[in-house]
């Protein structure tokens, strides 16, 4: 009734090309932004920020990045953890080397550095595909983690081998370090998420994104119709690594504060982000958010129900979480290969006809 194209007249090309052509969608989007920027910062507390909101926002960026590579360009990567580590160490080196520069630019630069590394490891994708490539990206994962462990220059020769983020401020408010308050860290991450999502959304519906999708659907056919595989594949690697680098930088500097590379950016992180986009929906920006929210909330929920509610031991809950995540992956691949995003699409389709289905 209220969710429809009819009656919403487009009078210019810009109107016709807008991201959300349906009025209801548009208002919903403004509403979400309004709540995220103007309501949540005033009510957020430490627990919510650290347990739910920060990981959700940061993983969303990583999931969008990986979704560009896997969902839009069809190049499966298992090196996400390694690339996040590049972002984290890049931002650490930048923060300590140039303390006078605003941390905002450090994070962006860290993304840029990760993009360069990503392109480097993306080069084999021109020769190999499918799970050959997936295994090749494992090389990135293991090599990068080893590198950050073994070369003392990366962790500034600290005795513990850990890196910890110094305090940095934006507009006079601390966003990293021990004195950062919940709302500043939240807003800082939210700004990045919003920018990344808007960029990703517009890239994927433009010519670059269509080239990626052509490569994904069939690379030889794409080449024949004039898509340059070298440029599209490497641009996908670059953009994807940029996002993943930004998320790694935020994960280290804002969320964790101190990081030991093998623990924080191991192979499990790669799988976690991959699972987010499978559950959320391959090839969908909304799906990246949905998947990230799902896999961030699930452990919190399980912990609250099983450990606090029923009084089970924590290791049992952890094992059960493994089982549930694995089972969900299989269920989604069988029943709904396009993930939560597809459920959302179906719901919207139903809503368009409601309440007169014929």
């Amino acid at each position: 009734m209220f969710y429809r194209e009819a009656g919403d007249f487009k009078t210019s090309y810009t109107d016709d090309n807008q991201t959300f052509p349906i009025k209801f969608d548009r208002y919903r989007y403004y509403f979400v932004l309004f709540v995220a920027f103007c309501v949540i910062p005033f009510i957020v507390n430490d627990y919510w920020a650290n347990a739910v909101l920060l990981p959700f926002l940061i993983y969303s960026i990583a999931a969008i990045g990986l979704n560009i590579l896997v969902g839009y360009c069809g190049q499966v990567s298992l090196g996400t953890g390694g690339f996040m580590a590049v972002g984290a160490y890049a931002v650490y080196k930048l923060m300590t080397a140039f303390p006078e520069v605003n941390v905002f630019f450090h994070v962006l630069l860290a993304g840029g550095i990760t993009a360069i590394v990503g392109v480097l490891f993306g080069l084999p994708s021109l020769r190999i595909k499918g799970f050959y490539l997936a295994v090749a990206t494992l090389a990135a994962q293991f090599f990068l983690v080893w590198l950050f462990n073994k070369v003392p220059w990366f962790y500034n020769y600290s005795a513990s081998g850990q890196i910890s983020s110094p305090e940095r401020t934006v507009f006079g408010y601390a966003v990293t370090g021990p004195h950062a308050s919940a709302w500043t860290t939240y807003l800082f991450c939210l700004v990045f998420v919003t920018i990344c999502a808007i960029i990703a959304r517009n890239l994927t519906r433009g010519s670059v994104g269509r080239k990626w999708m052509a490569i994904r659907d069939m690379d030889i056919a794409a080449e024949i119709i004039g898509v340059d595989p070298l440029r599209s594949k490497l641009s996908a690697f670059a953009v994807s690594s940029f996002f993943i680098g930004v998320s790694g930088a935020l994960f280290f500097s804002v969320y964790l504060g101190a990081v030991e590379v093998g623990e924080a950016f191991g192979i499990n992180k790669s799988f976690l982000v991959l699972f987010m986009i499978i559950i959320g929906g391959l090839g969908s920006i909304f799906g990246s958010f949905a998947g990230a929210a799902f896999l961030v909330l699930l452990p919190v929920l399980l912990k609250n129900v099983l450990v606090s509610g029923l009084g089970w031991p924590t290791d049992l809950a952890a094992h059960l979480e493994f089982m549930i995540v694995g089972g969900l992956i299989i269920t989604f691949l069988i029943a709904e290969p396009h993930g939560l995003a597809q459920l959302w699409r179906v719901a919207k389709e139903k809503l368009r006809l409601w309440p007169f289905p014929h």
């Binding site: 056919a221 499978i278 059960l320 089982m323």
Partner: protein, 328 residues
């Protein structure tokens, strides 16, 4: 011979032995891939699960003891009996066959004709599920597995080499046994796939499963069989690795090491898995020995992957793999 060279030779031999164990895990991958086009990431977890089950059965552990205790507040842990290892291995094999059947019925039946990459991700899901399931069923503590394989330094080789070069080589008995068993296993598998009816049917399915279906081969049966054989290979690998380093979570990471082995050897070739395993085993040990000290050590973590990556750039189908032909 100078000491350094002798020491290098010893490292080389040990690398060969480690390579045999990698090849064992890689074998399971090749079998499933050949027959169904599924790249089974869960192979390593299957090895872990098989080893856990074997230990659990031998010690008479109560399955799901931890869960039962948590839910009902009881204190059960063991049945109080010990089962001889031979019988336990047979029982475990039964569990692996049942597992193969369940996996086939519940998962891969519904994913026939999907993209290979979707199947790959499904096996990652399966790996996660089984990891949690194995831990809930048998507990997550590190267990000792002892099925009566001799362990420790082989005295004979030590003596002979000491007599010949004045330097005794250290080679673990377990590695020798593993090498022998792996060789037997490969010969058996080759005989099975070349000379038995089921083996021929398996190759037919691998070649073209629609054509195989049309001449009356039951796809379901073949796939369950292949998963069972892979389960058996996983069991053997699990016993070997379990005896070597204890039954623990890191066992499932061996699967990751088997991936570069496969990429070197080619996904479709059983001899390729063996040769690839040996190259990786020797390569990473020699690299650690020669270059490792210069760059800070622990290169074993990534050497195999980088080697495979470089190799793939020049020969994407691996050493023995079938040539990849692409059609539009």
């Amino acid at each position: 011979m100078p000491d350094q060279l002798l020491f290098g030779t010893e490292v080389f031999l040990n690398g060969l032995m480690a390579g045999v164990l990698y090849a064992l895990v890689a074998l399971g991958f090749v079998l499933i891939y050949k027959a169904s086009g599924i790249f089974n990431y869960a192979q390593g977890v299957m090895a872990l699960f098989a080893a856990l089950t074997l230990v659990g059965i031998m010690d008479g552990q109560v399955p799901f003891a931890h869960l039962i205790n948590a839910v009902f507040g009881t204190e059960v842990h063991h049945f109080g009996w010990n089962i001889p290892s031979f019988l336990a291995i047979i029982l475990t094999m039964g569990v692996m066959v049942a597992l193969a059947w369940i996996v086939q019925q519940l998962i891969f039946r519904h994913l026939v004709n999907q993209e290979p990459i979707i199947l790959f991700m499904a096996t990652i899901g399966l790996a996660y599920f089984m990891e949690g399931f194995g831990d809930i069923m048998w507990g997550s503590d590190i267990k000792k597995l002892d099925v009566g394989i001799p362990q420790g330094m082989n005295a004979l080789i030590d003596e002979v080499t000491y007599g010949a070069f004045g330097y005794g080589f250290f080679i673990d008995n377990l590695d020798i046994v593993a090498a022998v068993i792996a060789t037997i296993l490969v010969i058996l598998l080759v005989l099975f796939s070349q000379y038995t009816k089921q083996g021929r049917a398996m190759r037919a399915v691998a070649d073209d499963h629609q054509a195989a279906l049309s001449v009356g081969i039951s796809l379901n049966f073949i796939w369950v069989m292949v998963w069972s054989v892979a389960g058996f290979v996983a069991l053997v690998a699990g016993i070997m690795w379990g005896a070597k380093s204890g039954v623990q979570f890191s066992l499932s990471l061996i699967a990751l090491k088997a991936l570069p082995v496969l990429m070197l050897g080619g996904f479709t070739s059983i001899p390729g898995a063996i040769v690839g395993g040996l190259i990786i085993g020797v390569g990473e040990k020699m690299f650690e020995f020669l270059i490792g000290p210069m760059v800070g050590g622990a290169t074993e973590n990534w050497f195999a992957y980088v080697l495979a990556l470089l190799f793939l750039v020049f020969r994407p189908q691996g050493l023995f793999g079938e040539k990849i032909i692409e059609r539009v």
